[in-house]
Amino acid sequence: MTELSGSLLLFLLTAASLVAIGVYGFIIGPEPLRRILALNIISAGIFMLMVVLAYRTSGSGATELAADPVLQALVLTGLVVAVSATAFALALLARLEQSSSEMSAPLQLKQTEPEQ
């Protein structure tokens, strides 16, 4: 199967569990804000998987390489993209709540109009 060391296996397990917890929260979590948090937990799990894969290199002492810089650079890019996507999602959420609380009356009017 695999000859990864104990610590790496532990982090691999944690990464998979984080993804699972995030998916569960995304399905369950009643509020939209909690669903956005759950999405961030999923992305944390995926990033952790990539960093563990990058760490594999330095785990084997024979080659004496540093951790894989390509995967780490990808995760660094991913972190910034994830936070900007979160900010956009939260802005959309705030807009949704604002307009659903303010414009509920006009919205109902619009819905009833075609029925006439």
């Binding site: 804000l33 990033f47 390489l65 660094l76 936070v83």
Partner: protein, 319 residues
């Protein structure tokens, strides 16, 4: 052995915090637990030999995301208990997730323990990249497409957020936090400059410096400082776009310079100029990332024709 104990503790804490954040009855608890989770993630990155990620995560994952979520919480109004999810509603998703998790673990255990050829290739080509830190070399030389497109994603997210941004939450700031934040500002600028400069040879670089600057600017903005840092300021707009613009111009210039040689390749720096090109791009990218992240987090409704509010009603002015 003690390292394994530390790892077990760290992983256990991470899982417990994530689970508690998902399951907690109150939304504010979920947000606070998530911020603690972000801080521990930074520690996990440091443990997994990724100090670049630890720096970025501490500023982004814990700092900026926390500020974002608290702003969203403040917009929710009164903090009510979440609606109760019944036992049956929890049961089926849990079963589904458990099946997915076991499949995921089966797939993950097939991963070979030896890495691919890429890390060795990076080390081999590092001398001609212009910097001596491998992660910076990958970000700004070997895979600069990613960074270029990432700056574009940031800009698009900012434009989208500015369009839909709702009215800002009015809040007062303490005199104490205002004076502390003023004390913090020069330190943040100094630290961000150091991190940017260190990125050539050590962990650090444009993203970490930009995130640090943004975190400091957000603290100041929340304390009603830095009023010039808003989308209506033409220089702020210029520098928010300049990160991408300088990158594209540098790529074009490098492409034209290479045109004299046999086969020009897009986004490949000439080795003797690479150091200066990377420094130029990183400086402007840092400013662009800092400004964009700050505006994304504070997300003030701009007083421009861009915002929906001004399109809907002509009187939607903001100070």
């Amino acid at each position: 052995m003690s390292l394994l104990l530390f790892d077990t503790l760290l992983c256990g804490l991470l899982l417990a915090l994530a689970l508690a954040s998902v399951l907690s009855r109150q939304l504010s608890h979920a947000v606070i637990l998530y911020i603690a989770f972000g801080l521990l993630m930074a520690m996990a990155w440091a443990r997994l030999a990724a100090p670049d990620l630890a720096l970025a995560e501490a500023a982004i994952g814990a700092g900026l995301t926390g500020a974002l979520c608290f702003t969203a919480l403040a917009r929710q109004g009164q903090l009510a208990l979440s609606p109760v999810v019944s036992w049956q509603q929890r049961c089926w998703p849990a079963l589904f997730v458990l099946v997915t998790l076991s499949g995921l673990l089966l797939a993950l255990l097939q991963i070979p323990a030896s890495p691919g050829p890429l890390p060795a290739l990076v080390l081999q080509e590092l001398a001609g990249s212009g910097v001596s830190h491998p992660v910076t070399a990958v970000l700004l030389n070997f895979r600069s497409w990613d960074t270029l497109l990432e700056l574009l994603v940031l800009l698009l997210a900012l434009l989208g957020t500015l369009q839909v941004a709702p009215a800002p939450v009015r809040q007062n700031s303490w005199a104490l936090s205002r004076s502390w934040s003023q004390l913090l500002a020069p330190l943040i600028i100094l630290l961000a400059g150091y991190v940017l400069w260190a990125g050539a040879s050590q962990p650090g670089g444009a993203f970490q410096a930009g995130a640090l600057l943004a975190a400091g600017a957000v603290v100041l903005k929340l304390n009603k400082q830095l009023n010039w840092l808003a989308w209506r300021n033409i220089w702020v707009r210029f520098f928010a776009v300049a990160g991408l613009g300088v990158f594209v111009i540098a790529a074009l210039a490098a492409w034209l310079l290479q045109g004299l040689a046999a086969e020009p390749v897009w986004l490949r720096w000439p080795p003797q100029l690479a150091k200066y090109i990377i420094l130029l791009i990183e400086t402007f990218a840092t400013l662009a990332i800092a400004i964009t992240l700050t505006l994304l987090v504070v997300a003030e409704q701009p007083d421009t024709p861009l915002s929906l509010e001004t399109q809907d009603s002509a009187g939607g002015s903001d100070d």
